[in-house]
């Protein structure tokens, strides 16, 4: 036992302990702070662009490009095919990128015409964009082909999306398929049925249903999911898939029922250009507005819109 100077040894030990404790606390603080000093994305701290993006014109030497809402794809594909049959300009229709994506692609000069299935927003109008309504299509309440029911009422539709009704008439389970938040088809149904918007939001919040963010994905899901129900925004249901349209309150989604407003759910499709169409863009828009174009639209399941009707 080291006798004689316990006080001195104690003082030294206290000093060592104080230093070690301080080092430990500092190390702990550094560890905590160091976690915040990990990789940071490049946009952190970057100032927001003060001015709105400057629209750019698509390369005039490139083929006429069209892109946008998936709801517009079937009708536009038919219009492009008809337009191509005339010879001359051969427009290119890109896969669905949504109405917003189409407008951004238009502003970036990637395409010439954006396909939009919703009204233009104020800031989009402020950029000088011009919307040319071309067709109105029904929002179809579609089910998988094995669903025994053929009709659904508005309250039943709300009850299904709220999860209050979980089976079809034969007792089979209902599988609800949702589009993403802000989808134009859901917006059209919400505009027609009181309470559907809140029900839809609750379902999003609770993660109640499977959500699909493309028309194609919705089509595939309806086709492959027994007992499925979902909103189909591309107008006519394709005959080649195991998908069937339900009548709503006894009305089937047809051109006639949409035109005379008997069918409750519909949305308007429009062609959006950077400004008043000119040149080859104007030529395509004129074709769409022409009787030939209107015929193609009607044959594709849409209601050609008169020039005076806003999208």
């Amino acid at each position: 036992m080291g006798r004689g100077s316990p006080q001195l040894g104690s003082g030294t030990t206290w000093l060592v302990v104080a230093v070690a404790a301080a080092a430990l606390v500092v190390a702990g603080a550094l560890v905590v702070v160091g976690r915040d000093l990990g990789p940071q994305p490049p946009f952190i701290g970057q100032p927001r662009e003060a001015a709105p993006p400057t629209p750019r014109v698509h390369d005039p030497n490139a083929p006429l490009g069209l892109a946008g809402s998936g709801s517009s794809i079937p009708i536009t594909r038919a219009l492009v095919a008809a337009y191509n049959s005339k010879g001359g300009e051969r427009p290119v229709l890109h896969p669905s990128i949504g109405s917003g994506g189409g407008i951004r692609a238009l502003l970036d000069g990637v395409v010439d015409i954006a396909l939009v299935s919703r009204p233009l927003k104020e800031r989009e109008r402020a950029l000088g964009l011009t919307a040319v309504p071309c067709a109105r299509v029904p929002v179809v309440v579609a089910v998988h082909a094995d669903v025994p029911d053929v009709d659904i009422t508005a309250p039943q539709l709300v009850a299904v999306f709220a999860g209050h009704r979980g089976t079809w008439s034969d007792g089979s389970r209902i599988t609800v398929l949702q589009r993403e938040r802000g989808d134009s088809s859901h917006r059209a149904v919400a505009a027609a049925i009181v309470g559907f918007a809140e029900t839809n939001d609750d379902a999003y919040r609770d993660g109640r249903w499977r959500v699909l963010y493309h028309d194609d994905a919705m089509t595939d899901a309806l086709d492959s999911t027994p007992g499925a129900i979902g909103l189909f925004g591309q107008g006519r249901v394709p005959d080649t898939r195991s998908i069937r349209a339900l009548s709503v309150d006894g009305v089937l989604p047809t051109v006639a029922s949409v035109r005379d407003h008997r069918y409750p759910f519909s949305k308007d499709l429009a062609l959006v250009t950077l400004s008043q169409p000119t040149g080859r863009v104007a030529a395509f828009v004129d074709f769409v507005r022409s009787p030939a174009g209107r015929l193609v639209i009607e044959q594709a399941g849409g209601v050609p819109l008169p020039l005076a009707e806003a999208p």
């Binding site: 030990t13 302990v17 905590v32 952190i44 896969p95 949504g98 917003g100 692609a105 938040r181 959500v211």
Partner: protein, 447 residues
């Protein structure tokens, strides 16, 4: 007693002084380390989750991009909005995608994304690879606020746990040390009693030894004093004896000898007278026999005188007496005797002179009787405070270890004379190599 007090304090104080800081350190370690570890583990879990989410989103976007090689980035914001709806439940705060140039795909999210730096977000990324080209990067941010809050909430419980552990670590050894200290103190008390008894015993023993040593020293000094006194007394006795002998010898020589000499002369005169008358022959014979008797008596007296004390010493001194003995020996033996006597200026006592003389005389007698020497060397010198006597012959010598010779009366007498005066005598001899008698006599105060 101070040691006792020191030991009682030292054991517990020493341990307390060491354990106290360690207990505090333990408290700090447990209080800090556990919440920090909790935070690190929690944040790492979040980061792994974010990284996996980023990879999954990147894979979804890659598939989208394969379908829309040119326009995939215009469709991504919708996908991200959809993913953000689901990711909120998994601590995922943001999901953003930048193109190859680092620009946000969804410009509508620029403000929200850019202002998230102030929150406790942990970002992880995964590249969107199309073919061999990285066309974009998915960034996923998880919110570590809850993890940090949980870690902070654990500070107090772990501080309490640390305090409990530190208290146990401090208290248990001290308690054990207290018990051990009691036993040690008991042993020390016993040891102290034993040490005290041993010290007392040592003290007594030392005192006894000192006393005995002092007594022995005193006795030794007394013995030495007595020995010295006896030696001086013996020397004085020898001196007195020699003086008395010489006095008797002088008396015999001066009185009886003179008288007998006168008688002899008278008897010779009587005889001469008687021879001139009748009956003269008878008277003459009687006178002749008387004369013979007187001569014999005279010789005996002379011998007695010599025995009692060499009167020659008084007459001519030691140097001349030794010379005379040597001359007599040379005359009797018919061999050369080399003598040298150097007595210096210091007068010697009668005992010293007589002993030195007797040594030479006895040695010469032995040489004449036994040595068959052809040369004799005699030295009598005074060196310092000693008289050295040496008589050497080149005779036949003898075995120095011969006991009979060592015990001969002549040698014993010489040794006794020498030792009575405090001196020493050596006899050096070997067969065929002569003999040397050597003696050293201290010149005492009597001289």
């Amino acid at each position: 007693m101070s040691d006792k007090a020191g030991l009682e304090v030292d054991l517990r104080a020493y341990l307390s002084a060491r354990l106290g800081p360690l207990a505090v350190l333990l408290l700090v370690v447990v209080s800090v380390t556990a919440p920090v570890a909790l935070f690190v583990l929690g944040s790492q879990t979040l980061e792994v989750q974010a990284h996996e989410s980023a990879g999954q989103v990147a894979e979804v976007i890659r598939r989208e991009a394969e379908q829309r090689p040119r326009l995939w980035q215009y469709d991504t914001p919708k996908l991200l909005a959809h993913l953000r709806t689901y990711s909120g439940r998994d601590h995922i705060k943001r999901i953003d995608v930048v193109d190859a140039q680092g620009r946000l795909i969804d410009p509508n999210e620029a403000e929200a994304a850019a202002t998230t730096s102030g929150t406790a977000l942990l970002w992880q990324s995964a590249p969107v690879v199309l073919g061999d080209e990285i066309v974009g990067t998915v960034w996923v941010a998880v919110d570590a606020t809850q993890v940090r809050r949980d870690a902070l909430r654990m500070l107090l419980p772990f501080a309490l746990l640390g305090a409990l552990l530190a208290g146990l670590m401090y208290w248990l050894p001290l308690r054990a040390m207290g018990s051990a200290e009691t036993r040690v103190r008991t042993l020390l008390d016993r040891l102290r009693v034993s040490q005290t008894a041993l010290a007392t015993l040592n003290e007594n023993l030392e005192h006894t030894v000192d006393t005995r040593s002092s007594e022995l020293s005193k006795a030794l000094r007394e013995l030495q004093d007595k020995e010295r006194g006896l030696r001086e007394l013996a020397a004085r006795a020898v001196g007195m004896q020699e003086a008395e002998r010489r006095a008797i010898a002088r008396e015999l020589h001066d009185s009886a000898g003179q008288s007998l000499t006168a008688i002899r002369i008278h008897m010779q005169l009587i005889g001469d007278l008687v021879r001139k008358e009748g009956e003269a022959n008878r008277a003459s014979d009687l006178t002749t026999r008387t004369l013979g008797m007187v001569d014999l008596t005279l010789e005996e007296i002379r011998r007695a005188v010599n025995t009692l004390g060499p009167a020659v010493l008084d007459d001519v001194g030691l140097a001349a007496a030794v010379e005379r003995v040597c001359d007599d020996g040379a005359e009797v033996l018919g061999i050369p005797v080399d003598s040298r006597v150097d007595l210096g200026d210091s007068p010697l006592s009668a005992a010293l002179e007589t002993t030195a003389y007797r040594l030479v005389q006895e040695a010469m007698t032995n040489i004449s009787r036994h040595a068959q020497a052809s040369e004799v060397r005699v030295r009598v010198t005074v060196e310092g405070a000693e008289v050295h006597v040496a008589v050497h012959d080149d005779g036949k010598g003898f075995d120095a270890g011969d006991v009979a010779i060592g015990r001969s009366r002549g040698l014993v007498g010489m040794r006794e004379r020498v030792e009575l005066l405090g001196g020493r005598l050596w006899l050096e001899s070997a067969v065929g190599e002569g003999t040397t008698v050597r003696a050293t006599l201290p010149i005492g105060p009597e001289s």
